[in-house]
Symmetry: C2
Subunit: 469 residues, 2 copies
């Protein structure tokens, strides 16, 4: 990383003319502030551009094209795969100032937002109308809607409500030449031409910079009930998940925690967890208040044949909040266990969860690397956390082999390398394991159409060269 900005004075002058000096940042301190994401890696940009509106986004991209400067769009920097890291330097284009909620339409069930709006701020606004936007990543208090769209984010609620792509109706975006496009619209149906809305959603900021979105919204459930069910083995818990998914009524969350995750929660939170528990499910149901508690109880009854150690009665309000906060705290407190955690959000069909967990146990045992597993079991989406110490060279040397085994296992179980975090820099060398040659080539060609100079968020998603599995 170069601590000295490599941008020429004339480019900087053009950018300052466009944005104002207070929105074009070149000091080392400012550049450092935009150099990180949740991977723990840092990549220093040559400058940071803070756009205040779509016109400025157009201007920045046009100048970057003119001067061949790499540009990395950035929401809140909460991503897990390096998607917002400026791996080739150049300019970080922050969308954080495009943070207006422009329109809420209750009968049309949409909200129009600028993409720098923080997920939780949108939810607060929508709550006034008894609405919500279903994507609920655990970073919701910090992450931006633009980041959610770029990565096609999700969270616990996906088991019932689906993922970001299901809740985006239309987008405004800017191409590298500074021109704009508008995809989709404000209707819940629409089939005119190719689906560019979904093509941009999940494209990780590699095709265009999304500035505005029309989001489909849902009615906020009147009530939610959360139950905790603990088991003496992982096998019992995953078998119970398979059973729950086979039932007509879908919970609004089915979260899984393995024994090591429970040990951590026992130590770091006041959550009451039976000593012998080696797995736990958090089951949430949501809906109209009438009959909902009965539904939660019915669900627990169904699970009883998997011999749980304990079933907490369904709770709501502060008690439920306390459990969810413990669940959300897991990822951060994991960092206490080891100097580094490597977090892979793999996903398999729910029926393959028992095989996945079994395979993970074997990988951990054979490699000697502790692996903590938790996550969105209702979608088969497990966060697999390898705990390592970068200074422990013998262990670190085994990490690539462990990841290879993990990814091979997941693909053998008809799964995918990422359920909700994306590819970014972290999994680009693996995507050819999952995608066939035609998919890879078509994606590269589509990337080339949108960004022929390869300046927009370079070094992400696609491997430098195709690796054959």
């Amino acid at each position: 990383m170069n601590p000295v900005s490599k941008l020429s004075g004339s480019v900087a002058k053009e950018m300052i003319d466009l944005l104002g000096a207070e929105c074009f940042l070149t000091s080392l301190a400012d550049r450092e502030a935009y150099s990180w994401d949740n991977t723990g890696y840092r990549m220093l940009p040559d400058a940071v551009a803070l756009a205040n509106n779509q016109d400025q986004v157009c201007g920045v991209l046009r100048l970057c094209t003119e001067h061949h400067i790499p540009v990395t769009p950035r929401g809140a920097g909460t991503g897990n795969v390096g998607g917002s890291l400026p791996v080739q330097g150049g300019i970080v284009l922050s969308l954080q100032r495009l943070n207006r909620i422009l329109e809420v339409s209750v009968p049309d069930r949409y909200v129009v937002v600028e993409t720098g709006v923080v997920n939780a701020d949108l939810q607060s606004k929508l709550k006034e109308y008894a609405l919500f936007w279903p994507p609920d990543p655990s970073s919701s208090r910090a992450c931006s809607i633009g980041g959610n769209i770029a990565m096609c984010s999700a969270g616990p609620g996906a088991v019932r409500w689906g993922v970001t792509r299901d809740w985006v109706l239309g987008l405004d975006a800017v191409l590298m030449d500074g021109s704009t496009l508008r995809t989709g619209g404000r209707t819940t149906k629409g089939v005119v031409g190719l689906d560019l809305t979904r093509l941009l959603t999940g494209s990780e900021g590699t095709l265009a910079v999304i500035t505005r979105a029309v989001l489909k919204v849902a009615s906020l459930p009147e009530q939610r009930y959360l139950s905790r069910v603990s088991f003496s083995s992982v096998e019992q818990a995953t078998a119970a998940v398979v059973q729950l998914l086979s039932s007509p009524v879908l919970p609004s969350a089915i979260e899984f925690l393995d024994g090591t995750a429970l040990d951590l929660l026992r130590r770091e939170t006041s959550l009451d967890i039976p000593g012998e528990a080696r797995a736990m499910l958090l089951l949430e149901v949501a809906g109209g208040a009438h009959g909902l508690k009965e539904l939660a109880n019915d669900m627990i009854e169904k699970i009883k044949r998997f011999n749980p150690l304990s079933c907490s009665p369904p709770v709501d309000g502060p008690e439920a909040v306390m459990v969810w906060e413990a669940r959300s705290a897991l990822a951060p407190i994991l960092k206490k266990l080891a100097p580094k955690r490597i977090n892979e959000d793999v996903v398999v069909p729910v029926s393959r969860l028992p095989s996945l967990m079994d395979g993970l146990q074997g990988i951990s045992k054979e490699s000697g690397i502790p692996i903590i597993n938790f996550g969105h079991a209702g979608n088969g989406n497990i966060h697999v956390n390898l705990l390592v110490d970068p200074k422990d060279q013998p262990t670190m040397s085994r990490v690539p082999g462990v990841l290879d085994r993990l990814f091979r296992l997941v693909l053998d179980l008809d799964g995918s390398l990422s359920g909700e975090h994306g590819v970014g820099t972290q999994k680009r060398d693996y995507i050819a394991w999952e995608l066939d040659a035609n998919c890879l080539n078509l994606q590269r060609e589509i990337k080339n159409i949108f960004d022929p100079l390869g300046l927009l968020n370079p070094g992400k998603v696609w491997p430098a060269r195709t690796i054959t599995a």
Copy 2:
């Protein structure tokens, strides 16, 4: 249209070697059988290829590329916009023999099908598992899953369950060079690379031939209740729809019928419709049997402030089936009213429905062309039917102007030219009214990546030259 096949004998021989003589059809009768769709237009192919498996699809496309023969993929030919018509002749590639349901996984909530499977056959199979696939076009007894995916079809249930793109997890498809690709997968989450699954969904058979699909499925509601509510004006009915969409619980259908549609049903069916009724809503709720009838009644109570003429009590079973069959019969019996009906499935945000209906009334009055409107009001998706006689030249000469006014009205109301039927040959000259220049150009370039010779379903979706609005 050329009654004589233009395919050379040597190409025919290669096709027969590939498919067998019984699956490569060149007689006029056979070619005529594959020359139509629901537009009423006929276009004669030079030959019909019936593929029995994906390998044969690969072979047909490879031969078509080698010999520069246009090829038009065809499901069941039930489309409304000419999507399966061989406008440049060449070969119609029928997928109807790829009709196996390969796997149903209850806990994973997916089904794997070949794309020639008929929608209703899939639903019958899924019913055994208390599951269903939500897309429910009114042609469901005839249309194929491949057609549903190609057009991103929908039906009344979209107000609650969304459209085809929300229920497709992964696809197998064949490119024009005869090579294959597999997009997406078997998991309900997955964010590895660009979303080619949704790019193919709704691409109207212009990018690749889809041979197999992994479809997400939902639990079949235990019970459904249908209510009929009639009004003395269209305004009251659309105001009631806006109110319904503002309420927390979404019906599983909100169908609208205007006064002329009701006149027709009065005459042609035994449906009991008050004489003064000028609009009707069909409201269906679906879910667990417990409390559902109360929900239906609550909904009717809410509507009472819009002064309906009559509210039928919620019905299920044969009584509901009878109403739905009358609703489904509308499109076919409309044909009795006039020699030709021009059906445009425009869509606007629900809050703009009153303005749309008002504008339509004006257009009908000024043009003197009767317009009958009905459709999926819960999505703002109205089937606008112009009744004309092709022999009446003065009237026919006014049709283009009427369509121009209709589409301009819809776009002015933030709507889209098609909610569920697609573009095909019928709306290609209008899509530049809706899509901006960048969207159009990007779509054309994507088309060019997939099909550089322009042989796959040519003459569809994109205008021959861009028309500026």
